[in-house]
């Protein structure tokens, strides 16, 4: 049987699968809804430092002197500019603790009794920041925001003191107190948001899901209802069956991938820095690197139920370990090592480099080679396994 026949038969099987798919209205709606939900969810549930606004903070001024009040005044002036906090008053630590437990506030600031007297005595004035460790994400953010604000206020106070007491000019005073000034300059123009980070990963993930869940499901379902026998009893190559199914699932996965791309650009303001053609090529390469895995699961599982279970077990670690949602660099070293044996990691990295950083082919060369390697090795194992499974 020539390759031409294999291809022709697989196109017919692909035609059949897509026709079946397009006849189900619910499936068509889901095709669009799934990526939309995913983008909205992922884009809004993960907090970042810059996204903090109007966070309720309790303030307890226990200072006996007057400096505490001026501290509060300054804090309010700064807060009016940034709008980060919504300040409310509290009496003491226990009061703040109760309010935290009742979820009325997310953090607290205490100015102790001896604040003024310490400063007037030439000592440092202490500020206590109260955080809720049971909410690690929030407490880390508040910790950093409040300590930065307090430090900034300290600097300004020092500059003011130098200026007033010793007649040092404001510029000179600031260079004396903070000799080093850090400026951040990103390589991406504009201000990239979390969508920009997460969109390439979701595209890679949806394409992976289409092949890893769609393919075993499509074949084990036909096995269960008995229609696969019709194809197996026809004079066609086993390769045509799997190829046709792969094509249909790939098209489905790509459509979803492009819906995400479109949503990301239109609704969430994601800018594609690199070449769109390279993005498409990388999506196809991602498909290629996952096909083998999909076929392998298909050959191992005889029933639809088993296939679903195996896929879920494999997919969740992949989703969370491959840097789709969280940067790999944040993980402990052993998890990082694990992430580096997953093809999704490389697909995500490559897509992110191209979409966010505008990288060209040489810049993602390593990832491309690794993805091709994954694809070739997995296919070399999977195709003979599939042939064997089909003639049991």
């Amino acid at each position: 049987m020539g390759m031409k026949d294999v291809l022709r038969h697989s196109l017919w099987i692909c035609w059949k699968d897509l026709l079946e798919f397009s006849r189900s209205k619910l499936r068509l709606v889901m095709l669009v809804l799934m990526p939309l939900f995913m983008m909205v969810m992922i884009g809004f549930i993960f907090p970042s430092a810059s996204s903090i606004s109007n966070t309720p903070i309790a303030l307890a001024n226990n200072d006996t002197g007057s400096l505490g009040a001026s501290f509060v005044q300054q804090l309010e002036i700064i807060n009016n500019k940034t709008g980060m906090m919504k300040l409310s008053t509290a009496t003491n630590f226990d009061d703040i603790k109760t309010k935290l437990q009742n979820s009325e506030v997310n953090g607290g600031i205490i100015i102790p009794e001896n604040f003024s007297s310490n400063i007037l005595a030439g000592k440092q004035g202490e500020i206590i920041v109260v955080i809720d460790q049971s909410n690690p994400q929030m407490s880390v953010t508040i910790e950093s925001v409040l300590s930065k604000t307090v430090a900034m206020m300290g600097e300004q106070m020092a500059i003011h003191n130098l200026n007033v007491t010793y007649n040092v000019s404001v510029t000179r005073a600031s260079s004396m107190i903070t000799p080093y000034n850090v400026q951040f300059k990103g390589i991406v123009p504009g201000a990239p948001n979390y969508f920009q980070f997460v969109a390439p990963g979701i595209i890679a993930m949806v394409v992976m899901m289409a092949l890893m869940t769609g393919l075993p499901h499509a074949i084990s379902y036909e096995k269960d209802i008995g229609t696969l026998d019709g194809m197996l009893a026809a004079p066609i190559s086993r390769l045509s069956i799997i190829l046709g199914k792969v094509m249909a699932q790939t098209i489905r996965g790509m459509i979803q991938g492009f819906i995400i791309l479109l949503l990301a650009v239109v609704l969430f303001g994601v800018v594609i820095e690199g070449s769109i053609l390279l993005v498409i090529a990388l999506i196809i390469l991602t498909v290629f690197s996952f096909v083998g895995l999909g076929i392998l699961i298909t050959s191992f599982t005889d029933k639809e139920e088993t296939a679903t279970m195996v896929m879920m077990t494999l997919m969740f670690p992949m989703m969370f370990l491959s840097g789709v949602f969280f940067p790999i660099q944040q993980m402990p070293w052993y998890m990082q090592d694990l992430a580096h044996i997953l093809p999704l990691t490389y697909a995500t990295t490559a897509l992110r480099k191209v979409m966010v950083l505008g990288a060209d082919v040489p810049a993602v060369g390593t990832e491309i080679l690794i993805l091709i390697g994954f694809g070739v090795i997995l296919l070399a194992v999977a195709v003979p396994m599939f042939r064997r499974a089909m003639s049991k």
Binding site: M1, G2, D5, R8, H9, W12, I13, W15, K16, L19, E20, R23, S24, I225, G226, T227, D229, G230, M231, L232, A233, A234, P235, I236, S391, K392
Partner: protein, 400 residues
Amino acid sequence: MTDYSTETMQITNQFKCPKCGHIAEYPGRPNERVIVTCASCGTRGTITQPETVPSPQFTNGNAIEISHLKKMFGDFTAVDDVSFTVKRGEIFGLLGPNGAGKTTIIRMLCTLTSPTAGIATVAGFNVVKQNGKVRQHIGLVSEKMIMYDELTARENLKLFGNLYNIPKDALNQRIDELLQLVRMEKWADQRIKTFSTGMKQRINVIRALVNQPEILFLDEPTLGLDPQSTAEIRELTRRINIENRTTIILTTHIMGEADLLCKRIGIIDHGKIVALDTPANLKKIVSGTDVSAFEIEISNLNPRIMSSIQSLSSVKSLVQEDTTHLLIRANGGDAFDIIIDSLRKNGANVRMVKNLEPSLEDVFLHLTGREAREKVSENNVSAAGPGHGPRRRRASRRIR
């Protein structure tokens, strides 16, 4: 068994010289590339012999030859050393209870599963070594319908026609003919899911005919159909066999169906062929023995009468058909007298006695020592291969 294959087949085809237009015949094997010299202008060139669809090789007029076929699923022997042949153009029945191994045999012959041991040839081709060629010549109507619910009847036929490389125009014509054959032209562009079970099965059968197979496998084709659809499918089976000379292998657990349609029947039980002959000859097995069957109508039938008959040593089986009718199978030449005596003694009011012709059911009972319908209704979980759906229980009560 002779092993025919295209690898050794010599074919001769005409080729035209590209230079001088001289047409000559060159021999070769299918798909072979041969270097030839034009006889008229002396140009040397390469020709490629076309790949031909191998024609079926019916050795000794046999469509199917099976020898010592065996299939194991783990420790379980589903098919145990089965040997038989199916003649070209006949309807051959495989009769047996569920789980006897009928479907497994069909699956091996259709190249869907490979035998553990033994050889089988279909249309002259080995089902393992030449499975591709076997597939060219067979059609399969499986117990589970091979159709896609979301597709229309025509789309289903189109898909499978294209998998058999049928040219577009020929395929469209073929699809129309097949739809006419089962009077489904009106429904051609409706989705399968809107059809009744009977309509579905008609499409399911013609789907297997789309490649004009020489050999058609029908695995329980009337299962779950209403009486009208059952009759239609049986009629269709007969027509396909007569009009196209298609060899048909039919599996069934319904004795009447096998008796009605099949020229020869293989009775299979526990993976073994226990008898194989024409229905008439099979019945002779029983009539040659002293087993006899009666239908007796007793107006005052009660449990006491029944247990008295059951206790007779010559009675082999007793079936209560309804409130007044009994079906009795008994051994021995004097069985009739003994039964009538016993009935009189128990005050039975015998209205009618009918001596029954031996049926395939009797043959089966005689050969396996049990009734097929018992297995059908009480043991409907098959031990091997794909599952069989639940069956309706027979209304009649049986007493042993």
